[in-house]
Symmetry: C2
């Protein structure tokens, strides 16, 4: 689900003059061209598409396994149906690259200079064949169900096809939608379940055992999950065979009721290394095709690596500790081997954020120490459970968020810049924003062991730094790191380093030493410190790594709003940024050190 393509592209792209032939793919300008091909040509098209995938993915990375496995299905979809008259909805939509190539966007795969034009997801701005911008899982059946509803209200006739799978079937939204379709939809609706026996990591959930039974019995097992929900059902075991896929899709085309087409595919099909290690090859960085080795290197130190170490050590020494993740072990560096060693202290719930968080509340209530880990962008899938199941009950669940930063994922569907704004206004939840390695580890220790509060920790998104920080801290106390005059800098979390830089610049350029504060607590104001600051300061600058609306700075602004203190809040706008460059975005927003310094001078001059 993770694709930071543009950023990587900018960093790592080298123009590669090597030529591929793509003989058949080059003839495809829209889906009509697919319909002209014979079976051999269609197979050649599949080969070309895989070559084109290699071309893009070896150079800028992206979703590997999901796309290699779905090539034949998407060719067959365009061969049998008539997009965009017939409507395709791709779940997660990281499995839509072959579809993109068939709908006028092959250049984004075979011509290196056009890579940048295509996002890693379906995108209505790119093509009328893409109906939704989708990056979170489990949404396709609901979204497509809405297309069905509108079609029927308007008396139109066309096929609506949802393509789901790759682990996303276990998400509550998908299950709700299947249940709904089973009894409430009585017209054409085709749900293709792409069963590649894998989520990002291994699959979890009884549903996937049922898929296994259905595969093993060629669709004839008793207790068919889909039929139990009232859905018609058909099984196709050769999901990577174009002829078989064309045949099965022709059977269901123009059907007058909802049907599930369960297809058996191989994730990573066509690249042996990926077929044999489906988890590692769900998604890839630029790599060498011969060896499968990444051609980019990682920093030796990272907050992810620190987290891995913390989790493994904690599990070893505290039997009450359990790490729970909704299918995101990779974000915390937990390899299959490590997970296996953790035994019952590791729980992958599958793609089920709601269940993961509510279950953690139960664990905490019964005296366990649950740490729930996922990406900032996915925690919003479980807002109600954080609020109701955890926070109203005030159970000591710790939620750890990776990529809660402008420096995290930059696709519009995966932004982490909303997490603070969305969650910090839930009562009882303590949101911690560590500024460096030792503070991060202290906060993890404190949060997981204490018994009084639900806690959310925002993992820093920048490079690892370290300072001496407090081992103990009272609730909602800010740390004054440097005492000064006139100007206060409240630099939250991983923007603390920006605060340090600004403090130095003020001293150098404006000739006085400002006060620098590490708030630590992202949603609890230290009113004592704030009140004291009024004595010899006239301006507070807040810096935060997220949108301003609903965030930290606006709380500070509101505190001082009826007092004698100016406040300037620095952060992002309430906007869906897409594939931005972090440094450029900050400059656009006037958040470089120099720009903020200019603002400070202007404000001080006025007052």
């Amino acid at each position: 689900m993770i694709n930071n393509s543009e950023q990587r592209l900018r960093k790592n792209y080298k123009n590669n003059k090597e030529k591929k032939m793509y003989d058949i793919l080059k003839t495809i300008n829209n889906p009509k061209d697919v319909k002209q091909l014979n079976v051999e040509q269609l197979k050649g098209l599949a080969t070309d598409i895989r070559e084109a995938l290699f071309n893009r993915l070896t150079k800028i990375g992206g979703h590997f396994g999901p796309n290699f496995g779905i090539v034949e299905t998407e060719i067959a979809m365009h061969y049998v149906f008539d997009s965009p008259r017939d409507k395709f909805v791709f779940d997660v939509s990281h499995q839509s690259y072959p579809h993109k190539m068939l709908t006028g966007r092959k250049a984004g795969y075979i011509e290196d200079e056009h890579f940048i034009e295509d996002s890693g997801y379906t995108n209505p701005e790119e093509s009328a064949h893409d109906l939704f911008n989708v990056g979170h899982t489990s949404t396709s059946i609901s979204l497509a169900g809405g297309l069905v509803k509108a079609r029927d209200l308007k008396g139109e006739k066309h096929n609506v096809v949802a393509l789901i799978g790759d682990g996303s079937l276990s998400g509550g939204e998908a299950l709700e939608a299947l249940d709904f379709a089973g009894s409430e939809i009585h017209s054409n609706f085709i749900i293709i379940v792409n069963d590649n026996q894998q989520s990002i990591a291994e699959v979890h959930g009884g549903l996937y055992q049922n898929l296994t039974e259905l595969r093993e019995t060629k669709g004839k097992a008793g207790n068919n999950f889909f039929k139990a929900l009232g859905l018609d059902y058909i099984y196709e075991e050769n999901g990577n065979d174009i002829e078989a896929m064309i045949k099965v899709l022709k059977r269901v085309k123009d059907i007058d009721h909802p049907i599930v087409v369960h297809i058996n595919t191989q994730k990573g099909k066509g690249y042996k290394i990926a077929e044999e290690n489906r988890e590692a090859w769900h998604w890839c960085l630029p790599f060498d095709r011969k060896t499968g080795n990444y051609t980019v290197s990682f920093p030796a130190e990272s907050y992810t690596a620190l987290t891995t170490e913390y989790i493994l050590n904690k599990a070893k020494k505290d039997k009450d500790f359990v790490f729970i993740t909704p299918a995101m072990p990779n974000l915390f560096g937990l390899s299959p081997d490590m997970r296996s060693k953790m035994g019952t202290q590791y729980v992958d719930t599958g793609i089920t954020e709601e269940h993961a968080v509510a279950m953690a509340s139960g664990v905490a209530k019964a005296g366990g120490k649950p740490l729930v880990g996922t990406a900032a962008t996915f925690i919003q899938r479980t807002y109600d459970q954080v609020s109701q199941d955890v926070c109203i009950n005030n159970n000591p669940v710790t939620i750890l968020l990776n990529f809660a930063s402008i420096d995290g994922l930059t696709d519009v569907t995966h932004l982490g810049i909303f997490a603070l704004s969305a969650f910090s206004n839930i009562p009882n939840l303590i949101v911690l924003a560590p500024t460096c390695q030792s503070e991060y580890l202290n906060m993890l220790d404190w949060a997981v062991d204490q018994k009084d509060h639900p806690v959310m920790i925002l993992m820093p998104g920048n490079a690892v730094t370290d300072r001496v920080t407090d081992k103990d801290f009272a609730l909602n106390t800010f740390k004054v790191e440097q005492s000064g005059e006139k100007v206060v800098i409240l630099a939250l979390g991983d923007f603390y380093q920006r605060g340090e830089e600004l403090a130095k610049e003020i001293e150098t350029k404006l000739g006085f030493k400002p006060t620098l504060i590490n708030p630590r607590f992202a949603n609890g104001l230290d009113e004592k410190v704030l009140a004291d600051l009024q004595k010899n300061h006239e301006l507070v600058i807040t810096l935060e790594d997220g949108i301003l609306d609903g965030g930290f700075g606006q709380k500070v602004a509101a505190y001082y709003a009826d007092k004698e203190m100016k406040v300037k809040t620095c952060g992002l706008k309430r906007e869906f940024y897409d594939r931005y460059h972090p440094a450029e975005l900050l400059k656009q927003l006037g958040m470089t050190t120099k720009q903020i310094l200019d603002d400070i001078q202007a404000i001080l001059k006025k007052s």
Copy 2:
């Protein structure tokens, strides 16, 4: 799911000296006492419990059908298991009244003066037999799954029992948890599915058809939904027979794996009027036992009634319009007859907020005009779908929220005071806060017909008022209702009337005419108006019907924070209030007109 008991109690309570005998119930001080009874006595206890339910519900109202139907089950649970050693988790927990009576809280039902001591939900502050404060649906299996996990980590031995049903099985969280339990839990876990063939309104979803098949075949239907998920399963058709329930629970007690106990019960059992009209008697206001008529009256005009009329008219004249609700037709006054007349333009998705909102996005994408209606407290169950499926795609879905107000539901699990804070910081979403009847209807008209924005409308929570308002309004433009000097009142939504009152008081008491503004847009600042105000004003008062953190006032405070203008934000604290009295709470928070006036004087004096 709706229980405003304390408020009603205070309004309507009259001490009733009539005595009931409750011979057996009176002997029950804790679950141990239940175990001493013979079958006849247990039946007598059931009769007493129903009498006690009548006593409370006729006088202060509450959840009727769910509790009348579950009496025998909860007696059997306490007879067979050993709470609190064995752990019970009640879904929604509005079906826990009999359990409460059996765990030391009978006074809250049989002694009128003690009504106030018991909330309408399980509540750990009341009793160790209550593990969670729960009012939203579909959570019990996840929460109980967490208790299972902690028990197993700690090597403890006891039964964990989740009681779900009454429509809540179709919620994504419950489905995720069932799927998880089917393959990932390998120890004692008993899931009682209370199948009363009803949600609040009628049930929707293929799952409920499967339950019907299972009932009709006494549990032997092919394609058993639970077995398809890998769960063991047992059926009990006589869920209102204590002996049968004791027998089936004894069979599953101490089981070493998860099992679903599917029981067939009658919602409203024991009151013919309720048995025959399950929807109307899901929940009740104080009523006359003989006739079933409510003994309290409603205001003739209400925003609910206005909404009913709007929906029916709009459906009649616009075939693209569809009203979608996740099982909350009653909040918008839509009777079964009206729903039936709307035909396919009415969709009850069942308790599936995520699916309802994502489906609406699909409808909007395909040119339909979807209006999604639910309670403010439940919209947070679909935060991710509002953000991703709707707002990133900028599809014109209108979401209408009832009870988004301090004057709405007052149980801690059902507060509407967080909706503005939670949702107004999502990009692309326009949040409208109408101030009176004509503005509300204008905004509904505009939102549903426009094609450019997702819109959320906060239904006023106060009594219906009316003024002349603009039919057309440009985006994010505030309406200056009265021009004045020195002080500006920005009075949002249904707090506009408080703003009017404050404006009058200022004129009378302070001798100048303040400016009064109806912002209309709850999350888009009209910067032109705000900038102009600086000319002849020194203080802005913001009034909003919700918590301050993340809300409207803090945005205004941040706007003025580096300028020459004082701002005082008035709203609620970030706190989980429980069963409060609105007027008293506002007084506590310093938000009476007099208190705000005093604050204004103090601030003006200082500057």
